[in-house]
């Protein structure tokens, strides 16, 4: 995942991934590891990731803080791979790349980035028990927006009106009741490769092992609009997915040498529960894994064949030497 060319591709200026494209990357990443997941657990993991990311983006005090959240993610990862210097170096390199690409953007540009990210998460209200227990999410699936605590860095505590004359001299100062309970920000988080990020968003939310559940009932109200968006065939979607396949082709899988080459991740308490969840999951929320079909293009064939060989595919793969248009037709079926 921190492969140099993969990161470079990710950091190229581009439009926001569609929901399908992101889900495909996610599935491929999950299956590129020694981890195995069946459909129900995969869906649950994806929901959890989506809602956690929504929480982090929504609660960012300043738009630029999405970068600090990303740094928190990377710092935590570094803590987990301390014994692997080669990998540590790759992650540090990723941090440097992020700083180079995003470090110089203006507040207005970050505001646009944050607003665009929020369109991705619009209308998702899946309840996550970890969030409900921590009281960061309400029972209606919406996140709590606190009106107390430190203001973001660069913002003054609300409550003051200052009036000036034509010469710029302050003539009057009045306080007003602003309704919140804010204090000044202690300090700014660091945007360097190493530093105190100050912000807690993006750090490990699991201090203790707790069961994590996602509740999908009662969230279908706005899903019709979501479904409608993905039905219209997108002529460039084929390009997106083929591009992703290429990216995946560059990833190496480290085969572990132990007796058990992999482990199966079950996000439910028992295997039976997992099966039951797969059966009862609301239709609209099922994300189907898109099977990338080989095209007639020789080079693509080789690349894709190599990918297929390296990845675990959960469903029956439908290999055919048909043209790339089948990919589009397949997307129409979803």
């Amino acid at each position: 995942m921190f492969n140099k060319s993969f990161i470079e591709e990710l950091l190229k200026p581009q439009e926001l991934y569609s929901k399908k494209a992101l889900r495909t990357i996610y599935d491929r990443l999950a299956h590129a590891s020694i981890m195995k997941l069946n459909q129900a657990s995969m869906d649950k993991l994806y929901d959890l990731m989506t809602m956690a990311l929504k929480y982090q983006v929504l609660l960012c005090p300043r738009p630029k803080d999405v970068l600090l959240v990303t740094f928190n993610h990377l710092d935590t990862i570094k803590g987990l791979i301390q014994d692997n210097p080669a990998l540590l170096h790759l992650v540090d390199e990723t941090l440097r790349q992020l700083i180079e690409v995003y470090g110089g953007l203006s507040a207005g540009e970050f505001q646009l980035i944050r607003q665009t990210l929020l369109t991705f998460f619009q209308d998702l209200h899946i309840r996550v028990s970890l969030f409900l227990k921590d009281k960061v999410q309400n029972s209606n699936g919406r996140f709590v927006l606190p009106v107390s605590g430190p203001v973001p860095w660069g913002i003054e505590v609300p409550g003051l009106i200052r009036m000036f004359d034509n010469k710029g001299e302050e003539v009057r100062r009045v306080e007003f009741p602003h309704g919140g309970n804010y204090v000044t920000a202690p300090k700014e988080g660091s945007f360097e490769v190493y530093g105190d990020r100050v912000l807690k968003l993006g750090t490990n939310m699991y201090s203790v092992n707790r069961p994590v559940e996602t509740h999908t009932s009662g969230t279908s109200k706005n899903l019709s609009s979501q479904a409608q968006q993905s039905i219209a065939p997108n002529p460039l979607a084929k390009e997106e997915l083929n591009f992703l396949a290429k990216l995946m082709g560059g990833m190496e899988i480290k085969k572990t040498s132990g007796p058990e080459p992999g482990f199966r991740l079950n996000l439910f308490t028992t295997d039976e529960e997992e099966e039951q969840a797969a059966l009862t999951r609301p239709e609209e929320l099922s994300h189907e894994v898109v099977n990338i079909q080989a095209t007639q293009d020789q080079q693509r064939n080789q690349e894709l064949a190599r990918i297929m060989g390296e990845f675990e595919v959960m469903d029956q793969p439908r290999w055919s030497a048909s043209k790339g248009d089948d990919l589009l037709a397949m997307m129409d079926e979803l």
Binding site: G108, Q122, H125, L145, I155, G159, I161, G180, S225
Partner: protein
């Protein structure tokens, strides 16, 4: 004291944009129109008194080259001398409709030759001024369209260059009467008070404000520099620019001189919308901190100073507000939209 009134349901939730609510008051037929951007579509609603929804319509951003459905950045009703047009800006261009959204009368595509591989292209910032409609661009340019009294014969009249970064919002007010005390004439570079009647203000991502006088050729009168924080929303009242910033501040500037008259630490997050009830000098500010505040502005003619008084504050719990507007000329009712919220919240003090 404002009280929550009946909410108006929306087909789709509101997108996290600035200035994401437009209101057209039609007192003659006792109707209010609301416009909200959802994402690739926008919703128009006609509402009767007591918040009873009567009709709704969805408009979509016109497709063009690109991977995904283009996103709409803003929807806004423009009141012109002989007609009202609905303007919709997106990442592909500018669409203009008759006021009920039934017929598109004009389409202006963004010039892809100007595209940069790194920057997103979009139009954003809409205001009418006399028989002109001004629309801002990602490049910083402001397009000025000349609108005929009726029909689709809309012409791009001018492109204003004044902003180095993306335009965020535009405000205008009817040309003011001459200043009786002659205050405005003092110290300004204009030839006469007539020349100095600013009636358009444009704002951008760097916080820079440009003050213009409209006409067959727009004239740049003043530049008010920013301070590294985007200006998200702007209003114009009696020659005073009321400006909302990404750092939660509301500032009032005298447009003829560029002098700062008032600075309010109003909100704890970026301001997303400002609105005016010009007849009574009321200003509404809304921000991502879940709060909406109402302020009373007054101009002291002797000193030339501006005074501000806080009137009311409202918290919309757990809602990142993205749009807010007064719903009547006396400023006794207002409406609010929030990110991810599929309803328009209304408040009234009557």
């Amino acid at each position: 004291m404002f009280r929550r009134q009946r909410s108006i349901p929306l087909r789709g939730s509101a997108a996290a944009l600035s200035n994401n609510l437009s209101v057209l008051q039609l007192p003659v037929c006792n109707l209010t129109h609301f416009g909200v951007v959802h994402g690739p579509s926008a919703q128009l609603l006609s509402v009767a008194p007591e918040g009873v929804p009567l009709a709704q319509r969805q408009l979509h951003a016109k497709e063009g080259a690109g991977v995904s459905s283009p996103l709409i950045t803003q929807v806004h009703w423009c009141a012109l001398p002989f007609r009202v047009l609905l303007v919709l800006t997106s990442h592909r261009g500018i669409q203009m409709y008759e006021s009920d959204g039934s017929v598109m009368v004009y389409w202006h595509a963004l010039d892809s030759r100007d595209a940069s591989p790194v920057q997103a292209m979009f139009a954003r910032g809409i205001a009418s001024c006399g028989h002109f409609i001004c629309v801002g661009m990602w490049s910083g340019r402001v397009l000025v369209f000349d609108i005929p009294a009726k029909g689709p014969n809309i012409v791009l009249s001018e492109e204003l260059a004044g902003h180095p970064t993306s335009v965020t919002d535009i405000a205008s007010e009817p040309a003011q009467e001459q200043d009786p005390a002659g205050e405005r004439g003092k110290g300004s570079p204009c030839l006469s008070p007539q020349d100095c009647m600013a009636d358009v203000v444009t704002a951008d991502d760097s916080g820079l404000l440009c003050v213009w006088r409209s006409g067959p050729e727009f004239k740049l009168l003043t530049r008010i520099p920013g301070f590294g924080v985007p200006c998200t929303s702007v209003q114009l009242w009696k020659g005073i620019a009321a400006v909302g910033y990404g750092n939660g501040q509301v500032r009032l500037y005298e447009t003829s001189t560029g002098a700062l008259h008032v600075q309010i630490n109003a909100h704890a997050r970026a301001i997303c919308a400002l609105d005016l009830a010009p007849e009574v000098g009321k200003l509404l500010s809304a921000a991502e901190d879940t709060f909406v505040h109402i302020w009373k502005l007054s101009k002291r003619t002797e000193s030339g100073c501006t005074e501000v008084e806080h009137c009311h504050g409202e918290c919309v719990p757990d809602t990142q507000v993205c749009g807010a507007r007064f719903c009547d000329p006396s400023g006794s009712s207002f409406a609010v939209t929030g990110y991810d919220l599929a309803e328009i919240l209304t408040f009234s003090s009557e």
